[in-house]
Amino acid sequence: MRITLERSNLLKSLNHVHRVVERRNTIPILSNVLLRSDGASLEMKATDLDLEITEATPAQVEQSGATTVPAHLLYDIVRKLPDGSEVLLATNAEGTAMTVASGRSKFSLQCLPQSDFPDLTAGSFSHSFRLKATDLKMLIDRTQFAISTEETRYYLNGIFMHTVESKGELKLRAVATDGHRLARADVEAPSGSEGMPGIIIPRKTVSELQKLLDNPDLVVTVEVSDAKIRLTIGSIVMTSKLIDGTFPDYQRVIPANNDKELRVDCQSFAQAVDRVSTISSERGRAVKLALSEGQMTLTVNNPDSGSATEELPVGYEHDPLEIGFNAKYLLDITSQLTGTDAIFMLADPGSPTLVRDLAAEDALYVLMPMRV
């Protein structure tokens, strides 16, 4: 293989694919990125056996071919090369080393044979649809924070995506929960998604995908099967295994009969929570909300450092109520709210609370209170 390409193109693509590669690997080939040149492009592929990202970028190909080199190493080298430079990638005759040359810099990297590189793409997909990048990003942004990190409940370690009929319309819905809070977001179901299986997209795939959705004009092609998902975003193809598990019946968790409505100004509420929780300890950042007519008093007590209170005018016309929440969880939710006002639907201090965004009726959040 012998090719020349622009450093900026190479860097951009490597930036997308190299993140998939784990820093520590017991299998050497998994530390490498696959480079394959053909026609007028260079294709790069990286995998951790659960997730694979492929991206192609234009290149002048003198001699086509393929090899694998350490991904983080190559990325670091290209990152440090001067702006606007051209990069030459050339393997030696034996295929054991690859030269990276640019200007007066020259590197030689050890290669592993491309035939050893694992392939994740086998298998066919049952459903295929096209989704605006903005819609996909919105589904992710609004739910990602609630993904569980507890391995014990692996089936919660991702976003559950499925289609559902809501108010007479078919929606594509994303749900995530860690048992303490739940986030749900809908978009109009794109054609082709009808009848797709409910899938759980793993956390790592979700966060890598999120970084690839910056361009609002893009349209993403989504293909799913029972076990895999493939997303095509421009010249990037991302293939991921899905979590093999059953997502719990989340509808049961969403309270339907909470009768105490609380309306807060999102921004001032978030700022107040942030301020009073300054005093709380790392563990158990509970903030107590004491509600009375038209007023909320936020209190944090930390036996080790002191206490904080703040008063906030709110829309509340029910019996007084005291309820505690994890401050971080409240802030996670408020940071996703787009409108000026948020609606809390409360029942009692021990029951799940529903949070709605007045400006975005297609998202809702459930929050489990804490004992305070």
Binding site: G179, H180, R283, G284, P352, M368, R371
Partner: protein, 430 residues
């Protein structure tokens, strides 16, 4: 070492009377247990170690055992945890396999350890220690370092006399004996407490440290075990005296940071202060099987029982833990530990057990195990433990059931109620 120079200050360990002259017995009570040392009233750092702790407690509680060799340890497969001094005469040592111990001393009385009782007595001893000084650093259930600097005004006595009074008090009030080592650093205080066991009181002063250490084997140094001693032996080093003649740079080049430790400790230089960091880092429970077990279902029974023990101890010490640790020892003595962090702390046997099960599933691959243990680390107060869960409402019900079982057990005893996992597996009479 108590140097017998007549002019050294000293006192009688039985009646605490000051001994001015060079008599070999106490001028007041006639006891031979005199303590004399030139630095006796200058030293403040002590190491206190209970003598044959578990065995002494059993002997205290059953006077019939007083003149019999007693071994504390578990089952036919277990090892000796403690041997009383009579059993030690026959060659029984702690950590010795039980069958070997019984070969050496067939007439020994073997008693299964009653850890709860020993822990209770250990706490009593520690409470008395804490009356001497707030700077008590426990090393285990039955030994601790004490820093007594600055307590003279409080106790109206120098540390040496305060410690002798303490040893006497433990004998009178708790009914077991301790050995005291008094020195100027941790290393030598610990060495000293071991010199005269049982009922010992040894002093190693600054002036004699080099001389004292010269002929001692390198294994006396903390951190030098069998393997490292072999390395040193290969290099021709057997005694601490040899280390005393070597350069620090040379030792560090050869043995790294351990070399520095060798250099310093061989010269009696030890700057480590007594620290109060007695808080538990983890709570765990383990058991060695009578016969090796490979079957998952059989391991589960033990896992459940141990999880309940851990939960019980968490409850008593008002703690919760966030990381569950499973420990297994294979038939060929390889240890496997697997851990998993939960997203909230737990104090429940149910959650510990269920997490442990997931870890066990991967390990129950037909391998024969001789030991299983389960525990939690990453400890915190229990008030934030086990928050209600949106996804698993049954968890709340199981937690309530467990609390109810605990209340029953408090009232009617441990065996009054148990889950199906362990029911019928308890041996009626050991």
């Amino acid at each position: 070492m108590p140097d017998s120079a007549a002019q050294s200050p000293g006192f009688c360990r039985d009646c605490l009377k000051e001994q001015a002259g060079g008599a070999r017995r106490c001028t007041a009570c006639g006891s031979p247990r005199l303590l004399r040392h030139s630095e006796l009233y200058d030293l403040t750092l002590a190491h206190i170690d209970c003598d044959a702790f578990y065995a002494s407690i059993e002997k205290r509680d059953d006077p019939e055992l007083a003149d019999k060799p007693v071994i504390i340890g578990g089952g036919k497969r277990g090892v000796v945890s403690t041997a009383c001094y009579i059993a030690r005469i026959h060659g029984v040592r702690s950590a010795m396999p039980m069958f070997k111990a019984l070969e050496a001393c067939p007439q020994a009385v073997v008693i299964k350890p009653n850890m709860e009782k020993y822990a209770r007595v250990g706490r009593e001893v520690r409470t008395l220690m804490q009356e001497l000084t707030p700077l008590v650093q426990p090393l285990s259930i039955d030994e601790a370092f004490l820093e007594l600097k600055g307590t003279e005004r409080l106790h109206h006595d120098p540390p040496a006399r305060t410690l002798a009074r303490f040893a006497r008090r433990v004998e009178q009030e708790i009914g077991i004996t301790v050995s005291v080592g008094l020195s100027y650093c941790k290393f030598l205080a610990k060495v000293a407490s071991d010199l005269q066991k049982p009922r010992g009181f040894s002093v190693i002063g600054q002036a004699e440290a080099l001389e004292f250490l010269r002929e001692k084997p390198v294994t006396l140094i903390w951190g030098v075990g069998k393997a490292f001693a072999n390395t040193l032996e290969r290099d021709g080093v057997r005694t601490i005296g040899q280390l005393q003649t070597m350069e620090e740079a040379d030792l560090m080049r050869r043995y790294g940071t351990m070399g520095q430790r060798l250099f310093r400790l061989s010269r009696g230089l030890d700057e480590r202060a007594v620290e109060i960091d007695g808080e538990a880092k983890s709570v765990s429970s383990e058991t060695t099987f009578n016969d090796d077990i490979a079957r998952y279902d059989d391991l589960v029974v033990h896992l459940r029982r141990l999880s309940e023990q851990v939960a019980h101890r968490l409850r008593k010490s008002e703690l919760a833990g966030q990381t569950v640790v499973l420990k297994l020892k294979t038939a060929d003595f390889k240890i496997r530990t697997r851990n998993r962090r939960l997203d909230s702390p737990t104090r429940l046997a149910d959650r510990i057990f269920r997490t442990g099960l997931q870890l066990l599933e991967k390990e129950a691959d037909g391998t024969k195990y001789r030991l299983i243990g389960i525990g939690v680390s990453d400890l915190s107060a229990p008030d934030l433990a086990d928050p209600p869960d949106l996804v698993d409402p049954a968890a709340t019900r199981r937690a309530a059931a467990e609390d109810a079982m605990n209340r029953l057990r408090d009232k009617f005893g441990k065996a009054s109620v148990e889950t199906g996992y362990t029911f019928g597996t308890r041996k009626r009479d050991p």
